[in-house]
């Protein structure tokens, strides 16, 4: 089988001491960050990006990927033990996970979360491995028109799936697209929106923007609220679920895995949406929905499996077409570019060790995570007791050094601060920053493909509708918008985000 041959290439690449080490380090750092509330994976990856400059490309990507799915794991620990989502994807785990902890079943909740995530991670890795080749072949048929339509669909989906007001999210996407066009225009060499500042000629660095919007802004927001983290004092209890627990958790975990795998592929989807949807689904399927919120094991197993599966399959659009589907994947694009790798369907054939190595490392990372999470829980609990007033200066140091070292530029640090203040303003105005970031990353690619498509079609815009793949993608985007316009669909979406 070709698949096993490919996985063999991957195992060969990953099973070196150094790469296993980076995989472990990434998973460990990710868990650490996931456990700490107020520090998300986007800010972390951006912060640690400079560390990977000197590494070989595969090692760098393995470590960054490890941070991402490690964070999904770690987030659940915080959610269960202190009722605070360590990551936004574990918001729903708080509901039943913390309820279980109060009943003295914290250990079981943690165990089920870890086992569910491991199962989901394994399945999702297989899905990526199986789906990658056919999808990449399909993607090779894409011309500029198709890429443009695909990105448009991606942005629309990101907006539809985002929380909050539809038009505000649209405007945030547009704002991101504008920020993305700052700098020298590739085709004409003209400097746009630089306002005479030479540092802006190369455009705004993705790290600067994300660190400002997600790192610094979050700190300012957090400083407003006083530290009301409660310290977990109860006993954690046995980590091993009973046979009865396992039976109750198996089906939700399986459903969560499938749901997460599908939703993860969608642009703008990924871990957060997957966990929310899974919780809503489990509640609806349950014989007695009133148990939810009071320690139902299904409410932990389903969403935890879903968010891990979603986190993993969100690599598919990136690896296969070079399209980032969420903010973390956008950072991965940045990381790849730094190492001279252009993400796209050609990676698989041109750099098979890199491609399959990364995929295999995800599964190995999941093994590390389960080995890591179970025995180290005591350490994570202690870590949670570090007060925020000592934590955020540490975060700031990493942010500032990270930003400065991209270009050895003090200007970049100042610019990140500007975005930090803007991010705070967005928070106060109720505008989600994630769509902006996605627009920022896709903007330059979209413009380039738009211009190329129009040039090829001699200025005839109907090319987007006459080419079948492009037309299908646009139709899907339109369908999504219409779906949102229908009152029932809108209600379901609001419900899914609110109650879950």
């Amino acid at each position: 089988m070709e698949l096993f041959g490919n996985l063999g290439i991957g195992f060969d690449a990953v099973l070196t001491l150094a790469n296993l080490g980076y995989c472990f380090l990434g998973a460990l750092l990710g868990t650490l960050i996931g456990v700490l509330p107020g520090l998300g994976p986007v800010a972390t990856i951006a912060m640690l990006l400079p560390i990977t400059y000197g590494l070989p490309p595969l090692s760098a990507l393995i470590m960054l990927a490890g941070i991402y799915y490690g964070a999904q794991y770690g987030g659940s620990t915080t959610a269960i033990l202190v009722n605070l989502p360590g990551e936004s994807s574990s918001v729903v785990t708080c509901l039943d996970g913390y309820a279980m902890a109060r009943q003295g079943r914290a250990g079981v909740a943690l165990g089920v979360a870890a086992l569910g995530s491991f199962f989901a991670g394994t399945v999702a890795t297989m899905i990526i491995a199986a789906a990658a080749s056919p999808l990449a072949e399909f993607a090779l048929k894409f011309g500029p028109a198709e890429y443009f339509s695909l990105m448009l669909l991606g942005l629309v989906a990101a907006v539809v799936l985002a929380q909050g007001d539809f038009f505000k999210a649209l405007a945030m996407v547009a704002l991101g697209l504008v920020l993305g066009s700052v700098g020298t225009d590739v085709s004409s060499g003209e400097e746009r929106f630089t306002f005479g500042i030479p540092e802006l000629a190369d455009g705004i660095s993705f790290v600067v923007l994300s660190m400002g919007l997600f790192g610094i802004a979050e700190i300012i927001v957090n400083l407003e609220h006083s530290d009301k983290r409660e310290v977990f004092k109860q006993k954690i209890g046995s980590l091993l679920p009973t046979r009865h627990d396992l039976k109750a958790a198996a089906k939700p975990a399986l459903r969560g895995t499938l749901l997460g795998s599908v939703l993860g592929i969608l642009p703008g989807g990924g871990a957060v949406l997957s966990s929310f949807t899974s919780y809503t689904l489990e509640k609806r399927l349950a014989a007695d929905p009133s148990r939810f919120g009071k320690g139902a094991i299904e409410g932990v197993a389903g969403p935890e499996a879903a968010n891990n599966a979603g986190a993993q399959t969100s690599f598919i659009p990136l690896l296969v077409m070079g399209l980032p589907s969420n903010a973390v994947m956008a950072l991965m694009v940045g990381a790849m570019m730094i190492h001279g790798i252009v993400p796209g369907p050609q990676i698989m054939s041109e750099r098979p060790t890199l491609f399959w190595g990364l995929i295999v490392s995800m599964w190995i990372g999941n093994v590390f995570l389960i080995l890591l999470n179970m025995p180290l829980i005591g350490i994570w609990v202690r870590l949670l007791q570090v007060p925020y007033r000592l934590l955020y200066p540490i975060i700031l140091v990493f942010c500032c050094v990270g930003i400065y070292s991209i270009n050895n530029s003090a200007f970049d640090v100042g610019l990140a601060l500007v975005f930090g203040l803007a991010g705070y303003l967005f928070n106060k105005l109720g505008c989600e920053p994630a769509p902006l970031l996605l627009g920022f990353v896709l903007g330059p690619m979209m413009e380039e493909n738009l211009r190329r498509a129009m040039l090829l079609a001699r200025g005839d815009a109907t090319v987007f509708f006459t080419r079948p793949i492009s037309a299908t993608l646009l139709a899907l985007a339109l369908a999504l918008i219409l779906l949102l316009a229908s009152p029932t669909a809108r209600k379901t979406r609001e419900e899914a985000f609110r109650e879950a």
């Binding site: 038009f167 746009r192 530290d227 200025g459």
Partner: protein, 173 residues
């Protein structure tokens, strides 16, 4: 103020913000040649985005006002004078102490880091960042911040300069 007005205020102000940014975008984009649909100039795509921003901004703001009207409220609540008065009531002295001051301290700390790193070196820059920004927390104390800053400075030099080999100056040059 009617507490229900707060979400509307958020929406309305974001709409206005999008319009302003859109207008700036349009102004800046029109400095560049538009080109034709076939050969787009540097201004084509940004101009389109600017227009989009204004359209979305106007939509967000008008929808908010219409909602307000539908609820039988006074549309005059959105007049600049009223808005200013409402804002002033929200941003009172307490809010300044709790929000503006911490944000400013974080900002000053970050700027101090940026300004000092080149001349004073990483040790001093991290110390300044930690001590200034760390003071933003309402429970901050010098007795904690100074050792934390010193420790982080040494740790930062160890990890970033010696460990990762980043080309940063350590001491004043």
């Amino acid at each position: 103020m009617n507490p229900l007005f707060l979400p509307k205020l958020q929406d309305f102000l974001s709409g206005v913000l999008f319009c302003v940014v859109g207008a700036v975008t349009i102004a800046a984009a029109s400095q560049h040649p538009l080109g034709t649909a076939m050969r787009m100039g540097a201004g084509y795509f940004p101009l389109f985005l600017g227009v989009l921003l204004v359209v979305f901004g106007v939509t967000v703001a008008t929808r908010t006002m219409l909602k307000h009207l539908r609820q039988g409220q006074n549309i005059g609540d959105f007049s600049p004078a009223r808005l200013l008065r409402t804002l002033r009531r929200i941003v009172d002295r307490e809010a300044v102490r709790k929000i503006v001051l911490p944000a400013a301290l974080v900002g000053v700390g970050v700027l101090a880091f940026a300004g000092l790193l080149g001349s004073v070196g990483l040790l001093g820059a991290i110390l300044a960042l930690v001590v200034i920004s760390g003071a933003a927390h309402h429970e901050a104390s010098w007795r904690e911040l100074l050792p934390l800053g010193a420790g982080l400075a040494v740790f930062g030099v160890g990890v970033f300069v010696w460990g990762l080999g980043l080309p940063l100056p350590v001491l004043p040059t």
